[in-house]
């Protein structure tokens, strides 16, 4: 072996080891890199004499690397690659004798077997493999590998039913051969499994509300366990594997290793749907195994199983060394070195790193912290239920705490010469701010909390009615006040149930109309203006306004002549009248009904508005607009007269300082009907004083104003003072006040305890009309 070639080999091996050290579970790209490096290593070896043994080993390693793509084998494959890679390096460096090397490989032969079992035969591009295999058996001291391959190969071939890795892309040959040819047994299993799925479903729905309920989790686990057991007995491998995958997940949940998040619940639901399809496939074919197989072929289970495995992977956590290497605190070579040392000393990587002065104590502690937070993420247990009332009181009290704190600070600062006090007070300030932020965040909940529940409602309703509906959700992370979320839950249930029941047509009708067989419902939430808008839209048959009008006339709500002239908005408004909606005639004719008056009442109670837009045979859209009661907004604080007023920051385009000379068309010189020409537009100048009935004593030379953009129109609102942008916690103004001043959406309390009013721009403009 020429020295040159050898050093080239060493570089390659070194590169390989770096890749291996940086590999993270599920990193497919890196997996491919590893394979490529191994291939080029193989090429390098092919060009060298006396390398048969290594070449042979390398070929196996390539296959091991291919096994990385299989999540189940991945950890073992990685271990193998890493340890063997290190041995390679040591061997090439001369610190490992050929004999030691082969002994080490031999020690790992069972692992090799395990990983390579069922691994696909090398593809065409490596067709030289078999020859070398046989050859290597005869060649010099390559006994280790040959023994290994001989062991590995038969097991792989004997495993005629295919293995998970092979099956990943589809059902292998003979996958369903094991199905018992007994229609009676199969139909019994069908009934039993259906029952278990029912039970599982109800347990799962309850778990969405109460995700830590041990009993429910156990029930759920048992259901899948039973299905798995009986299906295995009957040779229904697809059912078995699928329920097994779910069971694996539930096992971790049961052990308290993972918290059953909504995502996981959805995942289980998804699995149940596939299981149900499989079961239906059995029933449709009257439990004749031959026909069942055909149906089974169509239903893919492996993407789901793969997904499940990847999810489970996520709940593993990384090692200290990996974290350090990833952070760039230590190099990969160092890591290799440490790992080697670790085998010798059995000390912890972190300790070793410090001992060897590779990493500082701080770095290791930092990494430990990271690891802990990962573990915490994995567990995610420990929720506490707190009543809304307590939380609300807490929010109020903390607000008061902050105010008192700042007043105390003010007082202390006025008394000079209290250095120690000053330090204490600033510490107190930090603490109160932290508490405040924490408490405020507790009051806000992403709307996904109820969206997920609605998904279940939709699922169940659709199932009841035998329709298939796809629920699309958008903006689930929109944060809303907990109280608001609670109030809108019932209305949303009503609307969604209605949409599925009366809106979405059955499959045949949809097909006739040229629509997709699966009904689609969009559930979306977003911040709009100074409120939140929730949209529920179905692509069903829509509401015919004429029918609504006819009904309204019949009920004497409107005169026939007037009905003609009603706007669409007013027409659909009838739907929310009590009594109107419950009328069966409307329910059957136009397809909407029960409970819409309740919906409106609920929304009214939180100053929400609801509106319907619809087009016959195309869609029905419910638009719910909610104020951000108690929510936090970005506000722009201004002073008008003697009070502070907060304008929603989102609507502000710019701050405009108006020179009185700029004002055009001023009718009475007072600027009450003033316009300015700005950026190519004529913009009306509105005085906030007029709406708030504050005294005007504005300066004449410089007029401060905020330029708003609302519904494509622009307005300049004149204020006395600009205080600045702030996060505003909106407090409820009492109903009494809001009735009087509809242009406020709420109030707020500033850090110094003073009160400001949050302006609702729509109302503000209306007040000027």
């Amino acid at each position: 072996m020429t020295v040159e070639k050898k050093s080239a080999l060493r570089t390659q091996v070194h590169a390989l080891n770096s890749l291996l050290a940086g590999y993270e579970p599920g990193d497919l790209l890196k997996g491919v890199d590893i394979r490529d490096t191994l291939s080029s290593l193989k090429k390098e070896m092919e060009s060298l004499p006396h390398m048969d043994k290594l070449l042979q080993l390398t070929r196996h390693l390539i296959r091991v690397a291919e096994a990385l793509a299989d999540p189940e084998k991945e950890p073992h494959a990685m271990n193998l690659l890493r340890s063997t890679g290190k041995d390679y390096e040591a061997f090439l460096a001369g610190s490992l004798s050929a004999k030691e090397f082969s002994e080490r490989i031999r020690a790992r032969s069972s692992l090799f077997q395990q990983v390579l079992r069922g691994q696909k035969e090398p593809t065409v591009s490596r067709r030289d493999q078999p020859e070398v295999d046989t050859e290597s058996g005869r060649l010099e001291p390559a006994e280790t590998e040959s023994r290994r391959t001989e062991k590995g190969k038969p097991s792989k071939n004997a495993d005629g039913q295919g293995s998970p890795a092979e099956v990943r892309t589809g059902y292998g040959e003979g996958y369903f051969d094991g199905i018992v040819e007994d229609e009676k047994l199969l139909s019994q299993f069908y009934l039993e499994a259906k029952e278990h799925l029912e039970e599982a479903q109800s347990a799962l729905v309850e778990l969405e509300y109460d995700p830590t309920n041990k009993e429910l989790i156990n029930n759920l686990f048992r259901n899948f366990h039973t299905i798995k057991g009986s299906s295995a007995f009957l040779g229904l491998r697809n059912v078995e594997e699928l329920s097994h995958a779910v069971e694996d997940l539930l096992a971790l949940v049961r052990e308290g290793k993972i918290f059953l998040t909504k995502e996981l619940i959805d995942l289980v639901f998804h699995g149940m749907e596939i299981l149900r399809n499989l079961l239906e496939g059995m029933q449709i074919n009257e439990f004749r195994p031959q026909d069942m197989k055909k149906s089974f072929q169509i239903i893919e289970i492996f993407p789901y199983i793969g997904l499940m495995r990847r999810v489970l992977e996520q709940y593993k956590y990384r090692k200290i060394g990996e974290i350090l290497a990833e952070e760039g605190k230590i190099t990969l070579q160092d890591l290799q070195h440490l790992l080697k040392r670790q085998q010798e000393t059995e000390k912890k990587i972190g300790e070793l790193a410090v001992e060897e002065k590779i990493a500082t104590t701080e770095d290791v502690l930092e990494a430990l912290k990271k690891q802990k937070s990962q573990v915490a993420k994995v567990k995610r247990l420990g929720y506490v239920k707190v009543s809304n009332e307590k939380l609300n009181t807490l929010i109020d009290i903390v607000g008061e705490l902050v105010i008192n704190q700042s007043m105390l600070k003010q007082e202390l600062l006025e008394r000079s010469g209290v250095d120690r006090g000053e330090r204490n007070i600033s510490q107190l300030e930090t603490i109160t701010t932290t508490i405040k932020n924490l408490v405020l965040s507790m009051g806000m909940t992403p709307i996904s909390e109820i969206f997920t529940k609605l998904r279940v409602v939709a699922r169940n309703t659709a199932e009841e009615l035998g329709k298939s509906v796809y629920l699309e959700m958008r903006g689930e992370d929109t944060e809303l006040d907990r109280n608001v979320i609670e109030t809108i839950y019932d209305p949303l249930i009503h609307i969604i149930r209605n949409s599925i029941d009366h809106g979405i047509e059955d499959a045949e009708e949809r097909q006739r109309k040229g629509k997709d067989k699966v009904g689609r419902i969009i559930l979306a939430a977003e911040h709009k203006g100074s409120g939140i808008e929730i949209i529920i839209e179905d692509d069903g048959k829509g509401i015919d306004p004429e029918l609504v009008k006819a009904k309204a006339v019949e009920l004497g709500l409107v005169k026939r002549e007037e009905a003609e002239e009603l706007s669409l908005k007013d027409t659909y408004g009838f739907l929310f009248l009590p009594g109107f909606s419950t009328s069966s005639a409307v329910t059957t004719v136009s397809g909407r009904g029960v409970g819409l008056d309740v919906v409106k009442k609920n929304l009214d109670s939180i100053h929400g508005r609801v509106e319907v837009v619809s087009e016959k045979d195309r869609f029905t859209r419910f638009i719910i607009r909610l104020p951000l009661t108690l929510a936090i907004i970005e506000g722009f604080v201004t002073r008008v007269g003697e009070n502070k007023y907060v304008f929603p920051f989102s609507a502000i385009e710019e701050i405009k300082v108006i020179d009185p000379a700029e004002i055009l068309a001023s009718e009475n010189g007072n600027g009450s009907e003033a316009l300015i020409y700005h950026r190519g537009m004529h913009i009306p100048v509105l005085k906030a004083h007029k709406v708030f009935k504050e005294e005007e004593k504005g300066r004449d030379d410089r007029i401060l104003s905020l330029l708003f953009s609302l519904d494509q129109s622009r307005y300049c609102v004149v204020v006395d003072d600009l205080i600045g942008k702030q996060e505003i916690v909106i407090k409820n103004l009492s109903d009494t006040l809001l009735q009087e001043c509809p242009y406020f959406s709420g109030g707020t309390i500033f850090g110094d305890g003073s009160i400001g009013f949050v302006v609702d721009m729509q109302g503000f403009l209306e007040a000027l009309k």
């Binding site: 009070n643 407090k731 103004l733 109903d735 009494t736 001043c741 109030g747 309390i749 003073s754 009160i755």
Partner: protein
């Protein structure tokens, strides 16, 4: 029959005494600066910050159509709970002063005479004679949910 005894908070406006059931009262606080609302109806003076809650203050003098009087140290705000559309609202009543909390049996509350009293009886729950003072028991919910000025004080002055 055992008669029911309720506790009432007695407060004064001008020289008159008024009673409201103590169960309605959350607390009585000293006068604190009001953030004025100019646009609101005359008797709705503005709002105060009560431990992080924004509470509207209704001036009972103005509500009863009496002339405005500057607030003094004696002025107190009675924070009461009113059933609103959605939930309980808190409203502060600015009154001249609070006098006492007394037990009044239901039987002692006389119905308001329909004639002789010009003010709407829906604002009154009844009249009670305590020693030598006449106490008008108010029907707070209806007083505070109406936007009109309740011409109460003047009428009473005339009748006494």
């Amino acid at each position: 029959m055992s008669e029911e005894v309720k506790k009432y908070l007695i407060f004064t406006i001008e020289k008159e005494s008024y009673g409201i059931p103590i169960s309605k009262v959350q607390e009585v606080i000293r006068y604190m600066p009001i953030t004025r609302l100019h646009e609101a109806s005359r008797f709705l003076k503005g709002v105060v910050n009560l431990r992080g809650k924004i509470i509207p203050i209704v001036d009972m003098r103005l509500k009863f159509g009496l002339p405005e009087k500057p607030y003094t140290d004696r002025t107190v705000f009675i924070i009461v709970e009113i059933l609103g559309l959605r939930d309980v609202n808190h409203i502060g009543l600015a009154v001249d002063g609070v006098k006492d909390v007394v037990d009044i049996p239901d039987t002692a509350v006389n119905r308001t005479p329909e004639i002789g009293f010009r003010f709407k009886s829906k604002y009154l729950y009844g009249i009670v004679q305590l020693q030598d003072t006449m106490v008008l028991i108010l029907n707070l919910d209806s007083i505070l949910t109406t936007e009109e000025v309740v011409e109460l004080g003047q009428q009473v002055q005339q009748t006494t």
